[in-house]
Symmetry: C2
Subunit: 233 residues, 2 copies
């Protein structure tokens, strides 16, 4: 796969050694996450909305109520900045200055439009659910025409994108390695907890197979990556 | 504590029953998180940058290299939108339409300025480290004048803010409860992993006591809340 071509808008100026523009890297960071933060401008002022999203090729999708301000604003075709961030750990250095964070992030720029085609919109909703629960769309009660009308799906072709990644131990000033200060990484990760069945669940309803991939303690990013790998061989 | 007064900018229009404007609720969501997404506008275009942040009263702080585009832009005093999101779980309903996400989020609006006062800037960096490792600032090698000059601290008074929170099981259409579809919540949470000592750690360096609060498997939000509770009684 080729790389995104950075412009002044997306080129990472600070710590360029952490920057990645290859599609493979950008896609991997996106596919391992469920939540994105969408930035947009209304009357010159900045807004950021967190939302679940999914990806197909270089297109990002997200959805919500047709009544939401974000979706009404973006649906008309306005520039958006989509940020996806995995916080991977605290980096504890021997000096205050060299403390850091391990992370994987992507910033993607494009113009968001409402998906007007009903068939594309419903296929996108199916693909969204398949991101974490492949097969569930066909099990669940299908959407009514009224529900589909009340749901806006947005699509944004990625015009440009950059990933920024930090991994590994602290990098201290050479003289500081002699200090008696504990240094290293305190990792954090998103994991699944135990399923909480709906109190009104019909007795005898079986737990579907796709939830077995998401067993308690499993890392969310690893599970989403595995599912994406099976869906997009 | 009083509540933030919503205006059209911050009032939650979609699903207002999930909206909270009380300071206590907004502060609790902020204090339980380390990463915020900062939205701002340059030449009319939206940008979103993820960064670590901390709070004192109604003031949010974040920091970074004095060379970064975000900090140079915001330091001049420009409107910012700060979003903090905890993703708490997948809500699996019996219909595609009623699927949802459990989450706690805050959107805060204000104007960000560079902290010019050196004493306030260094105190803010100390407070930042105390958010997850109280006492560490005094253990680590203090910043040099050059390091302090290379670090920009920003402050943003919250002009207005809203929290949006969803918890609990799916809410299905009454007729759908009879369907043989598994329904419930698949929780997710951020937890600490096991400490990874720096490969160059001096043998015999002891693990500091504040890291015991952050033992493997402990939830990040709960730990940060506990630490904030001790710091701000």
């Amino acid at each position: 796969m080729t790389a995104f071509k950075p412009t002044p808008r997306s080129r990472i100026k600070r710590l360029p050694k952490r920057a990645h523009y290859e599609r493979e890297t950008v896609h991997a960071v996106l596919d391992a996450a469920l939540i994105a933060h969408i930035g947009y401008v209304i009357d010159g002022a900045p807004y950021v909305t967190p939302t679940a999203f999914w990806r197909a090729g270089d297109t990002l999708y997200w959805h919500g109520s047709s009544a939401s301000r974000m979706l009404r604003t973006l649906g008309e075709g306005v520039p958006a900045c989509v940020a996806v961030t995995h916080f991977d750990g605290f980096v504890l250095a021997r000096s205050g200055f060299h403390h850091s964070i391990n992370y994987r992030s992507v910033t993607a720029f494009g113009v968001a439009y409402k998906v007007e085609d009903k068939v594309e919109a419903e296929a996108a909703l199916d693909a969204f659910m398949a991101k974490f629960a492949p097969g569930r769309w066909a099990e669940a009660r299908p959407p009514t025409p009224k529900e589909l009308k009340g749901t806006t799906v947005l699509r944004m072709e990625i015009d440009e994108a950059a990933a920024k990644i930090r991994t590994g131990p602290p990098i201290d000033d050479e003289a500081d390695y002699a200090l008696p200060v504990w240094a290293g990484v305190l990792p954090v990760r998103m994991v699944f907890g135990a399923l909480e069945p709906d109190p009104r669940l019909n007795p005898g309803t079986v737990v579907p197979g796709y939830l077995k991939d998401l067993a308690p303690g499993t890392a969310l990013d690893e599970a989403l990556k595995r599912i994406a790998g099976r869906a997009k061989p």
